[in-house]
């Protein structure tokens, strides 16, 4: 090998070392993010990532999670029942396993009665669900409005007329007309509105979703995917250049040892 060739080869090796070092530095950020998110995702079950929700306003905004449509509230004593999207809230607590249109809510002597499509829910003063009544319990079909009758019991305006029930909701009776105080939908007060908005949005984005999106790059939109693709190519280049440099170095050492052995003979 000529001296000129040896020199250019050493230059190439040095520049490859430099490139390898810079590529490694650039890849470090990706390695940290991908390793951490991957580690957490590997233990989704144990960490309950799918049931933990993100409450960061900026992150929820980034995902475009917004409350759909208008909120409709019905005051029941000191509490307020509100429909947000397809969910129903007792103050700021979501009523579980419920996804229906809120018809109305009234405050009675012993209970608060909340009417949704096809069902009537009875709540205690502290907001605990006492009973869920359907057609089998005599709840009239096609409820349009609920109110309080002059006798203080629940009044229902349904598809086929007006109905009243007793104070324990055991018997129903149909009446011609009913002069009741019908529940009217209101706009929730601003502070409740803000709290409900946060509660609704907070339930919409799980920590698992965010971590998956960080891991795949989708959190940055379609460009994020290309960025993670670029990182993957970077890792491949690093691995290839690393192996090549290691093999060159090994060959150099072997050559050097051989030369030294020949000289010593």
């Amino acid at each position: 090998m000529t001296r000129h060739k040896q020199k250019s080869r050493a230059r190439l090796l040095r520049s490859l070392y430099m490139w390898h070092r810079w590529l490694g530095l650039a890849a470090a950020a990706f390695v940290i993010v991908l390793s951490l998110s991957g580690l957490l995702l590997n233990h989704t079950g144990e960490l309950a990532l799918d049931s933990r929700h993100v409450h960061s306003r900026s992150l929820l905004d980034w995902y475009g999670i917004r409350v759909p449509g208008e909120m409709r509230s019905f005051p029941v004593g000191a509490d307020i029942v509100t429909q947000v999207g397809d969910r129903i809230y007792w103050n700021t607590t979501q009523v579980p396993q419920l996804s229906a249109r809120l018809i109305g809510a009234v405050n009675l002597e012993d209970f608060a009665a909340v009417a949704i499509e096809g069902e009537l829910l009875l709540f205690s003063r502290s907001g605990n669900l006492i009973e869920r009544l359907g057609g089998a319990a005599g709840v009239p079909a096609g409820m349009q409005a609920v109110g309080v009758s002059p006798g203080g019991t629940l009044a229902v305006h349904a598809a086929h007329g007006y109905y009243q029930t007793d104070d324990m909701f055991l018997e129903w009776s149909e009446t011609g007309t009913l002069d009741a105080e019908w529940a009217q939908a209101e706009t929730p007060p601003p502070e409740l509105r803000a709290a409900l908005e946060q509660a609704w949005r907070g339930a919409g984005l799980s920590l698992e979703r965010v971590l998956l999106d960080i891991h795949s790059g989708r959190i940055l939109g379609s460009w994020g995917i290309y960025l993670v693709d670029a990182a993957a190519i970077l890792f491949l280049l690093l691995a290839a250049s690393g192996i090549w440099l290691w093999s060159r170095r090994r060959a150099g050492i072997r050559e050097h040892r051989k030369r030294r052995a020949a000289n010593s003979r």
């Binding site: 579980p96 396993q97 205690s124 605990n128 669900l129 006492i130 009973e131 869920r132 009544l133 359907g134 057609g135 089998a136 319990a137 324990m168 055991l170 018997e171």
Partner: protein
């Protein structure tokens, strides 16, 4: 791909048919009492009743009171329990301390709907409670429907237990 399309469609249709209302709860009650259901009664889940109910289900019943139709000899119940994610609505009839009938009325889950078939629900007939509040006979499970089977077993035990809480001599509460 095109060859397997009918199979995929068949499976999708089956899933769509599996979920839904098999019988309205009101119709189940009417059928149980030959179209003349008695006035309903109420069991409040308080104190011991609440503790036992929680022990049977493994969690609190979602409401504070449960409605029944009938008397201490024969009663009908509409109860709900979550299989995997969604509640399964079940109609149960208890007669003389033993299950007379159990029927899945509304099924909302995407899997485990096989529990609605009579070949499964018929096993519960004449089943009673042991002293430990377990069913006094074995119920064969259905592979792929473990959680729904478990939900129905729990509801059977619950109905049998709640039947014992109906006040004596309170025929029309």
């Amino acid at each position: 791909m095109i060859r397997s399309l009918p199979l995929v469609l068949l499976f999708a249709c089956n899933m769509a048919v599996a979920r839904g209302t098999y019988q309205e709860p009101a119709d189940f009650i009417a059928e149980t009492f030959d179209s003349a259901p008695p006035s309903p009664g109420i069991i409040w889940l308080r104190g011991d009743t609440r503790d036992t109910t929680t022990a049977i289900l493994g969690h609190k019943y979602p409401s504070l009171r449960v409605r029944y139709w009938g008397d201490p000899q024969r009663s009908a119940w509409i109860l709900e329990e979550i299989g995997k994610d969604q509640p399964i609505t079940v109609g149960l009839v208890v007669s003389g301390g033993r299950l007379e009938r159990i029927k899945v009325l509304v099924f909302r889950e995407s899997r485990g709907w096989e529990v609605r078939h009579p070949f499964f629900t018929d096993q519960f007939r004449e089943t009673g409670l042991t002293g430990d509040l377990d069913l006094d006979r074995d119920i064969d499970g259905i592979s792929g429907a473990t959680l729904s089977v478990r939900a129905l077993k729990k509801l059977s035990r619950l109905a049998l237990y709640l039947h014992t809480r109906i006040p004596e001599g309170d025929d029309t509460p």
